[in-house]
Symmetry: D4
Subunit: 214 residues, 8 copies
């Protein structure tokens, strides 16, 4: 039996860093396996979560001067101040750029939460290399995306087999939160309502209105 | 042959008003026939479009103190200043509330662009009554939503048969814009990129980056 | 322009009767074009609505001793007391059974709300015959079902072309209700929450809890 | 109001003929808008129905020596004895082959039930030409198929607009049957159970077993 | 080879308890990966099953005074009398609330059947913690739900990897039943027909009618 | 009865022109209602068809210097030599650019086959204006595309109501071909196999191999 | 590395038996996770395959006098002569009926190919018990079916984890065939064309026609 | 922890060979689990990739004189010059043909990238045998296809369990590329834009136009 690190390596604000790989304006346009807007909002949610819990983030792009395009402006707007953004000149696997590996290493966190576009390349190689370097890896599938469903199904099983913990955006945030009474509770509610689970914003507004009127 | 009013009654900033019917926090949660977030964004897009082109808007809610909940806060934030919001106490068809009919009448616009949640009730009855009152009606289906696909398919055909012009959010905005060189061009680009067609934001950011680097 | 009878022949408790055609235990098992349970719940919703507004109902079955099976027991349980149930011995079109036509005629209602399984046969022929007899017909698609999507798409267009008003369960009930402050408001809320739109039950329970706690 | 011929031109064994257009082994392989096997079974069902009710059938192929391939062998096996099979040498619209038009004319039936592969070509042109020649046309969509969903959606609306009655396989058969107590009842049950609605075979077998054991 | 506990730890009325985690009126509204009503009915089915077989149940909620809302009233109505309902004040993982862990421990059952909304948080953490505490865990996916398909796919693989037995509502009940001739047979048939597999109610009613008539 | 122009205005090489509206590299990336590659291939198919039958074509772009991007290079490569490409500086409706209207008028063809990206704007307005100018219009839906399914469903019904003939790429080509024995037969087979119906290429290659070996 | 028995325990006519579990007329009607007809045809395909290769088969039913209904008549028609059909009186897991276990044991085959309706119960328990008894198990998913997609997804992973080889109908048959030149080649082609892959019948008929004409 | 060979056996132009199994004109027509054209384009992409990186390829067919048909002509056109094409006379598992095994062995590459039609037979057995022979295997699912979704889901898990690395076309190419600055960068961009990810062609053309204009 394994609980995939949940009991022994639970994600906490102290032991976790976030890697956002190649959420670029050109690449996002190729996401066809699920809702592009969800990928966008979930990547933003991870960035805003980093601010809520004080997590370090490293962002990276692949050849942003070329057709891949710049990092999503709406994601840039959510990154914690000072987040290193490593612009790779050609390395497909982000960890093959020494600047990226150094930035990750400087975070000094054993648990890495990774999302990337496209799933079967940018997320995949970053996750596999991180595992190889001894990190615990949470691959966040719904903040990643790819060009067809089979590429996604394939990636899930390859990542599972390689030892990554497959996770969702809300799953990661909830593991970090641990208790709604903690200081991060209010910020988490905002991340859920605005970005990761918009239905929750509607439920919350309904509740507030009824409570005030009650 | 009919061109459904396009040549003779084309939507312009001068002849068009917008009705937003029951986009409430409780009702939106029942939208299951397509993406709730898209309904939300498209309703916001119509509201922001009103500001771009100076169109009058009337918003309305059904029993917002009850389970239907308040108007979506993110939609309220987009409404033009001074937009009348008519809170109906129980009338299912918005036009059966004299305050709503008066507010619509006060807009003095022959063309009404209508969106509503849920499609087969709130959008339907407002559209049918408006047609009965002699308005030209554009029912905006992708800014509306309902609880199942059959209710939507049914509604499209009932609206078509009743003489409403079936339209999309982007179709309405483009008919109002008419020429990208007009003053509304910049605002339309913003509405498209942020709300009605988020892919367009990515395309635009890619273009800007390449142009600057070029 | 036509508003499909909405302004001139609006459904009211006084001018409307409901026909439930062949919702039998054997036939329901062939519904594959959308959720069987939704068909079931919507047929029940129409029956319970009849009690809320005092509408007459006629139910009918086709050869219930044979493989088509008996009327759905959960639907029988919802029928208003005294509802005639006409067991046809073989007529495919319910109106070809004189007992059925007499029962419908005895309702003395110009507007007929019709649902049936399967859509392209039982709902179709009853709707076409009723139109031929001079009734206004509302064909309720989401309380009906058939064996494949193409049979449904085909049926919608045939019914539209024949002059039936295509409607949804919730659309019919809302047109009958007209105002939530009317006596039928409470019963309608129950029909929506328990049968026609179960999400509404959750929204309502959330609202009640928040109001009480507020 | 129109009831699309149901009351005035109801399909009967005496006034109806069936046209099966280009159900060939090469063309069937391109059907992607719904289940190929359903198209196959429904075309067979129409052929077997012709035998049940004594309807005339004309079948036709387009260049069967070429890649379109021969008529489906399983369909040939169901055709009534003596059915003319018109092998066209190149005419896309079957009615442009005089031999086909003559064979149809020789049936001397005012109502034509037409199915064809592919929908937007073979079914479409045969239906439009038949309408032009003054026939009443029932286009049977679920015994036809095409290469993508948009081609089908487009075809439904073009056929509706042109005045064809859109129908399903089971809808056609049931209109012909009219009463299960008639001589065709037994044969219809067989067509439904084996071909047009296989679920009905299971329901029937369950019923028989329970009745015998009861 | 492993048979996932089936041979050595088969679920029996004596060794099994049920945990229902956060089936609340606010959270259920976010379920978008499959049919909300199915989640609802399956959670009810597990509760009613507990009564059929005399299994202990522990239910829990997360901040039910807030937007998550109260436990689904229709689920409360199905819980065995005396079922402890642990209202957590903020702990995301139910097992971090000592009252919950104590209630579970008091059941004294090595096998835990767990369902929860949302899948990737409430079901996930409860399942992982239960595994960590040494319980055998059956995670019941179709009595759980989440906000998108990727979150579900991710959760299935994470749970599988962690050692949970992935199961369905009907799978759990059938393993408990073991033999339809046992005392629980009648109650199981009711749970299947009314809640877990409504088609079975239609099949059963058809059978009863045919047997009586036979 | 109408046959939508099929008998009286059948598309022929002499009476038909093709308009390709805004198939640009930026806009194509927003197509989400069906397969982008199919839109691409079908637009190419129409262009190559023009060469097969000697039809005139007018292509147009909207602000190709901006984010909409240049005309698809693979489409440019298929255009008949000398095809006018009208680059509009901002007019949403192509017919509002006098150069476009002049180019269309210069074709001197009463029947216009129109495809455009996006469907509810570029195809819609060009089709409506062409109808207003007295052209017969075939709107080719599967060579067009838009951002969501509701925008498409809406557009189909608006175009139908306005009097456009809804058509598919293969439907248009087949109506032009009329007889496979005509000179265009060989070219049509190539267009089908390479672009409009790739399955046909496989069927054709299989047939050729078997014939040669036979 | 494991090759799941392919190299060491490849399915051959000598080492393989087939178990068909509860393909009954009542249960098949609940299959909603994929095409019921495909389940039916694939179960028939396995039975006919047994005759092609001389494999022993054991079929079984659960309470066939009750609502589950008799074994599918079309499957009975395909069973090899003398196939034992074990009618269980209530045991959910077929192996808990000694007569079934004896019949399986009498086959004396180390590899069991198992299909069952419903997947998460009938197929599942038979597969798990067979694994526990030391058999190699191939669970044939596309000859099995269940009531919802989540029940299927869950079952695949539970079976994988338990050590069953997940397989398809065509995969099993092809492993048995091994070489098209072997005596079973002709029979396999028939099984593929008529039952397991009907497209193959069309391809074959096209080929034959072209070869003869070539 | 395993990284599935990524760190220790990364795919490089020196250690990798490609096997293309049975991409034949008859078999491709049976692909129904995802887009046939995507399978086609991805198989072509792998072939063109071989030329970009100088990888050896072995192609094979099963009974190409029969209904399976010849190798796809568009794939033949992409194969590197001199690619051995092994025409098997009947062996289902390509490795059972000594000529195929010899050709693979002659490549002398420890890593085999394999795609095949159909997935559960041609890809499956080649992958399992290659694993048995000691090769590292990357099974490329989106360059393979089969007749139904369950056959695919089943195959993914069987391949995963057997030790194959599940991969996508773009994943394989990117692992080979490793750095866009390497000599293969330009060729890879072409493969992506023309075949494996057509959206990338649009993004690239937009970028080029904007850069030139910038």
């Amino acid at each position: 039996m394994s609980t995939n690190g949940y009991l022994t390596d639970r994600l906490t604000p102290d032991n976790t860093g976030i890697l956002l790989v190649d959420h670029q304006t050109g690449l996002i346009l190729g996401v066809q396996d699920h809702d592009q807007n969800q990928v966008r909002r979930n990547a933003q949610a991870l960035a805003r979560t980093a601010k809520v819990f004080g997590l370090p983030v490293v962002a990276t792009t692949s050849a942003p001067q070329g057709p891949n395009g710049p990092l999503l402006p709406e994601l840039v707007a959510e990154l914690p101040e000072g987040t290193p953004i490593i612009h790779r000149s050609g390395e497909v696997d982000a960890f093959e750029d020494p600047a990226f590996e150094a930035a990750v290493s400087a975070m000094n966190r054993p648990n890495l939460v990774i999302a990337g576009v496209i799933t079967d390349v940018c997320l995949m190689f970053a996750s596999l290399s991180a595992l190889g370097l001894g990190y615990k890896v949470h691959s966040v599938l719904d903040a990643s995306g790819t060009t067809n469903k089979l590429a996604r199904e394939t990636s899930l099983l390859r990542l599972q087999h390689a030892g990554a913990t497959l996770n969702s955006t809300v799953g990661v945030i909830s593991e970090l939160l641990r208790d709604w009474k903690s200081p991060g509770g209010r910020g988490t509610a905002d991340v859920f309502s605005s970005l990761a689970m918009p239905f929750y914003g509607a439920v919350t507004a309904s509740h507030a209105a009824a409570s005030n009127a009650g």
